[in-house]
């Protein structure tokens, strides 16, 4: 999209401002289903994401049941899952399918589409002062491709041979050969097709976010006046647009290997005593292609959470964010480094040790921008007049989890230590804390903070506080002990540890973890209840700027229509972080700079 076209587009909107509301005679279908309003699309992403999160979370509860109580049987499981839990005991094949789908659903459908799909759509036009996305049509298609991907993935859960079960990383040859496992049959094909649709969705969304941020900022909104949320969402979109196509290539080649008899990833394979004719392929090639997406993917998940936490921490500390340009620079550095570290997932594949050491160096370099961000958050909080709103609590929780999860990344980034730690519960603990739970906290922070803008009502605070405290304590109780299990060599992805006397000492711990996991899951259902209850019955917002925030989304009416601002688009005169300046608590971005205003902060 060239800038001229988009500007014209904006002009057209501008000249119709006065009559804007009258142009839309919306039916139920155009308003709630095939909506082109970015706010409605954001809500669609959010609700779909919540549904997926419940499914994915439920899966983890079921497989934790197996890990925590390997000796017991649960007859009700058979009623629920049929032959997958014959006799009340989960089948190993289905255990793998559950783990695979848990990873796939939470990484892609919840924390990619549900997180950046929701908040990029919702916040970008509102915070940069635009009436909608650069292309509302593509935006709508982006959601519907996601919906299509969701439908296919959901359908794969009901395939007779079960959904994909080769792990969320779907390494060949396990994923390439239908005979390799029951989950490698039609479930795997559906997985790949679903992901192809998902990639199209994220591509359409990402292109739109980038174009909108670059071309449709309101007057006075220079790039350096953008709120940090927008910067984070911008780099998220860049990462998505550049890394997902590589997974698409990998997935297409895998589909060919599965269905057309090519051998891109297969060579010298014997399966069930039969020698396969495939030759010349390389299974490691797939890992390279996968992780070239896979590593940027963790930042696609994490960056929006970082951006939203920065914004929420600054608003609720009533202080400017510490080191705005350093924050932008460190996000930029993370985005660049994200593309250069993928092989640290592959230290034990027979990677050249010299090459490994290069990847170790680049991986450990990420600690620098990460530490800059952490210290900036902490110094923003330092001696601040903190309001502990639920959004703020979750933002602080995000910082806490990011620190504890990030530190273990330094262990894993060392190729020498990784020899011992790889594929153990240490890895599980690391990535669940730093990218799983931390990003969820960013998402919760965003939902609690922007819920009043989305629905014109507040979420219930009591339920929110229960949700926060149980979740953060529970998250640490679940994942902290896993570090110790991992250090003593307990491998991930095992169905049952009772056959190994060396891991028997963890039996009680496993049971404890499973118990906490169930409690935490129950509390998430409380959040879901709170969400839907407050949508209709919550306390109504009476102040258009309830948090006393500077950014533009709070200059719109409490329930903004399509087009966001009823009159002119506000003009921006200052950065987003003029809190506690010149004795004023906050100065919104659309307030002109006064004559006697001090220059710097």
């Amino acid at each position: 999209m060239s800038s001229a076209a988009t500007l014209q587009h904006a002009d057209v909107h501008g000249s119709h401002d006065a009559h804007h509301e009258h142009h839309h005679h919306e039916t139920f279908i155009t308003k709630y289903v095939f909506s082109q309003d970015h706010k409605m699309i954001a809500k669609q992403f959010l609700v779909t994401g919540i549904i997926w999160a419940i499914i994915g979370g439920l899966f983890s509860v079921v497989f934790r049941l197996q890990l925590g109580y390997p000796e017991s049987t649960f007859p009700w499981l058979e009623d629920l899952l049929g032959h997958w839990a014959a006799g009340g005991k989960l089948k190993p094949e289905f255990y793998y399918a559950l783990v695979t789908m848990h990873g796939t659903i939470l990484v892609f459908f919840v924390l990619t589409a549900g997180l950046s799909g929701t908040f990029a759509n919702f916040l970008i036009p509102l915070q940069i002062g635009a009436r909608d996305m650069a292309s509302p049509m593509l935006n709508m298609l982006s959601y519907w491709f996601f919906f299509l991907a969701s439908t296919i993935m959901f359908a794969s859960l009901f395939v007779q041979t079960g959904p994909a079960s080769g792990g969320w990383t779907i390494y060949p040859p396990l994923s390439a050969l239908g005979d390799a496992s029951s989950g490698s049959k039609i479930g795997m094909d559906l997985w790949l097709v679903s992901m192809a649709m998902f990639i199209v969705s994220s591509l359409l969304g990402g292109l739109n976010y980038i174009t909108t941020i670059l071309n449709m900022r309101t007057k006075g909104m220079s790039m350096t006046r953008l709120p940090l949320t927008i910067w984070a969402l911008f780099f998220t979109a860049v990462l998505g647009v550049l890394s997902f196509p590589v997974l698409l290539s990998g997935a297409i080649l895998l589909l060919f290997d599965r269905n057309l008899g090519t051998s891109f990833y297969l060579s010298d394979i014997v399966i069930a005593g039969k020698i396969l004719p495939n030759e010349g392929g390389s299974a490691i090639l797939f890992q390279h292609l996968f992780w070239f997406l896979g590593h940027p993917e963790v930042y696609i998940i994490l960056l929006p959470a970082m951006g939203m936490s920065s914004e929420i921490i600054s608003v609720n500390s009533r202080k400017p964010i510490f080191g705005y340009m350093a924050m932008v620079g460190s996000v930029f550095a993370i985005a660049i480094l994200a593309f250069l570290v993928w092989a640290h997932h592959m230290f034990v594949t027979g990677l050249n040790p010299f090459l490994g050491s290069v990847f170790v160096l680049l991986t450990l370099l990420i600690a620098v921008p990460s530490a800059i961000k952490v210290f900036n958050w902490l110094t923003t909080l330092w001696r601040a007049n903190i309001r502990f709103t639920p959004g703020m609590l979750f933002a602080i929780g995000f910082v806490s989890l990011f620190i504890s999860g990030g530190l273990t990344g330094i262990f894993l980034g060392n190729s020498a230590l990784d020899l011992h730690l790889h594929d153990t519960y240490f890895v599980v603990a690391h990535f669940h804390i730093v990218m799983g739970v931390a990003s969820f906290f960013g998402m919760f922070a965003g939902v609690y903070h922007w819920f009043p803008k989305m629905f014109g009502r507040y979420l219930n605070n009591t339920m929110a506080f229960i949700h926060f405290w149980v979740t953060i304590v529970g998250a640490y109780l679940i994942f902290w002990p896993m570090h110790y299990q991992g250090l003593s060599g307990m491998p991930r992805r095992y169905y049952d540890f009772s056959g190994w006397s060396s891991f028997n000492m963890f039996n009680g711990l496993n049971e404890f973890i499973s118990l906490v996991a169930m409690i935490v899951f129950a509390v998430q259902l409380l959040f879901v209840f709170n969400f839907f209850y407050s949508m209709f019955k919550g306390r109504k917002v009476t102040d258009s700027n309830p948090w006393g925030s500077n950014t533009l989304e709070w200059t719109t009416p409490i329930n903004p229509g399509h087009g966001n601002w009823p009159g002119e688009i506000p003009e921006v005169h200052r950065g987003a972080y003029d809190y506690a300046k010149d004795g004023k608590e906050f100065i919104p971005q659309n307030v002109p700079v006064g004559d006697d205003e001090s220059k710097a902060h």
């Binding site: 060239s2 590589v246 090519t262 030759e279 390389s282 070239f292």
Partner: protein, 217 residues
């Protein structure tokens, strides 16, 4: 459009890098001068790369006509745009036709294969084909001009590129129709033609790399 092309470039980049990885990790590879020496109506006429050069020329020439269409668009000359868009579309279709012939020839033409140390010429079919999975002949494994990966990558990548050309032709046809209906005259600029042009040049550029990888190296 630029951002989309960047993204698409990464897709093709991944394909071609995979190709490179495999190509340099196996010991033997098909000799392009042998494989691509046929020409329509002439069979294996020992004209190495002549046909593919013609294809490349057609595609590059269609890029030239695209440039001219964009140029006429800047001058707001609807007739000129129409003329050059039609030429571009013809170029695109011609390229696809050539590719269709080449694929047909490779899949069902006659090819040299090595059976028990002797070179034989076979009329090949989809299932009995030197570019596909291993072929057995009287219980003996038939040696083929290249590893299976050659066929896989050749058909995979040229197919993916052909799909892009096909999409490009569709886009150009839509643009032609919109030009005919004077949509761009009403809008006051021919910017959509320019965007379609960007895409077309990108597809052309990708072909240059595909050509380099499969035919020249």
């Amino acid at each position: 459009m630029w951002y989309f092309l960047m993204s698409d470039a990464f897709t093709f980049g991944a394909f071609l890098i995979s190709y490179g990885t495999i190509r340099f990790s196996v010991n033997h590879w098909a000799d392009p001068n042998e494989v691509f020496n046929a020409f329509p109506f002439a069979g294996h006429a020992n004209l190495p790369l002549a046909f593919v050069s013609l294809m490349t020329f057609i595609l590059i020439f269609s890029s030239v006509t695209m440039v001219l269409a964009v140029h006429e668009g800047h001058k707001m000359n609807r007739k000129g745009v129409e003329k050059y868009m039609i030429l571009t579309i013809i170029g695109g279709i011609a390229f696809l036709a050539c590719q269709a012939w080449e694929w047909t020839h490779m899949i069902t033409g006659d090819h040299k294969v090595l059976v028990n140390g002797e070179i034989e010429r076979w009329g090949t079919t989809v299932t009995r084909n030197p570019w596909g999975p291993h072929v057995m002949h009287n219980g003996e494994l038939v040696s083929t001009p290249g590893p299976i990966a050659f066929g896989g990558y050749f058909f995979g990548i040229t197919g993916f590129h052909g799909f892009h050309v096909f999409s490009g032709v569709i886009i150009n046809v839509v643009m032609l129709i919109k030009t005919r209906l004077k949509h761009f005259d009403q809008r006051g600029h021919y910017e959509m033609i320019e965007k379609a042009g960007l895409y077309w040049h990108f597809v052309d550029l990708v072909w240059v790399f595909v050509f380099l990888c499969f035919y020249l190296v």
